[in-house]
Symmetry: C2
Subunit: 224 residues, 2 copies
Amino acid sequence: MEKTIFESVYEKIFPFWNEISDNDREFICKNSISLSYKKGTNVHDSSECSGVFFIRSGCLRVYMMSEDGKDITLYRLYAGDMCMLSASCVLKTITFDVFIDAEEDSECYVVNGPAYAAISERCPNVKIFSLELAVSKFSDVMWVMQQILFMSLDKRLAIFLCDESARIKSDIILLTHEQIAKYIGSAREVVSRMLKYFANEGIIEVSRKGIKILDKNRLRMLTF
Amino acid sequence: MEKTIFESVYEKIFPFWNEISDNDREFICKNSISLSYKKGTNVHDSSECSGVFFIRSGCLRVYMMSEDGKDITLYRLYAGDMCMLSASCVLKTITFDVFIDAEEDSECYVVNGPAYAAISERCPNVKIFSLELAVSKFSDVMWVMQQILFMSLDKRLAIFLCDESARIKSDIILLTHEQIAKYIGSAREVVSRMLKYFANEGIIEVSRKGIKILDKNRLRMLTF
């Protein structure tokens, strides 16, 4: 029964699904589990090979962390996304560690890492799919790096607020300054200061609950 | 004749060389050129598909650049290394641009991008090799990002001086502060200040020509 649930999803998300054998398909399904994570819990920790994640609902945050606990968001995964960096045993050329937390209550299908790696070694199409997924994240990470290294904070913050407002289809963003700081790779104090600046300019309104965008046009001007 | 030169190198560096057809091998050789770059010249510019580089001698610096011209070194390529990020038409999931300069007089073999891409589309092994090469650079870049985001400058600078001294097998490093700043992802002023600090501590001696390491042990202490 379980198998049928996984199979109906996998045939849609894995482009190689019809190119591998019945046995391999069954093997992947047998090595899959459905997992739920409460908001705020850790999903993947550093160098473990947790497996290949497919996000059914919710939101996972992928980040890197320094020895002294500072972290920086690389990207977020939403329903329909897949994560390969959580399966370091599949991609041997990946030698760095990422961490993943659930930012909202999240449901995932997870294919066991070593099982997926075995299929990937046997089937070039599976390997190509996995590597391409990883390389596409390389592009995401380079974008983050560009933002952090080269872009001034006002611009980064304005872009984040515009993107987030578009994503949630609301002018009210219910995130703490701490959360925003993590998203844009800055410190809470710095973000708070900049938000205050935006508020003083009448672009936004800051309350304890969150941020309300008052002047979308001016905010958008800052993103150029 | 030319073909023979390329072939003798390619059979050593491409693990897929014996797995592709005679025709494909000939096609790759026919679409290869040998290029020389003078120290300081630009090798690859942003989003062009310059091709796949194999470095015969010298040193290429791969970096990213902001709109206003700030740049940051991602990694350097030495004799024996290959570069896939200079062939964006081969890896479609790579959506970011890098720049490459020759840091020393350098000689390269370059396989034409579209020609290599054609073979890569036909042969899964070629594609896997290319993707794995790109993913290994993902790991390098993540390391740089760790350094820049999380590590204090004194540590970064000390690590750079130790590594560079070991690489060139000399205690005298003939680089400008500007060059060092590029390597460690900082600004010249900041590096000059830190070098002065190291010099005041008797760890190094700074002259117009370069840097001389005086106290290797203390420098090494700083890298921990």
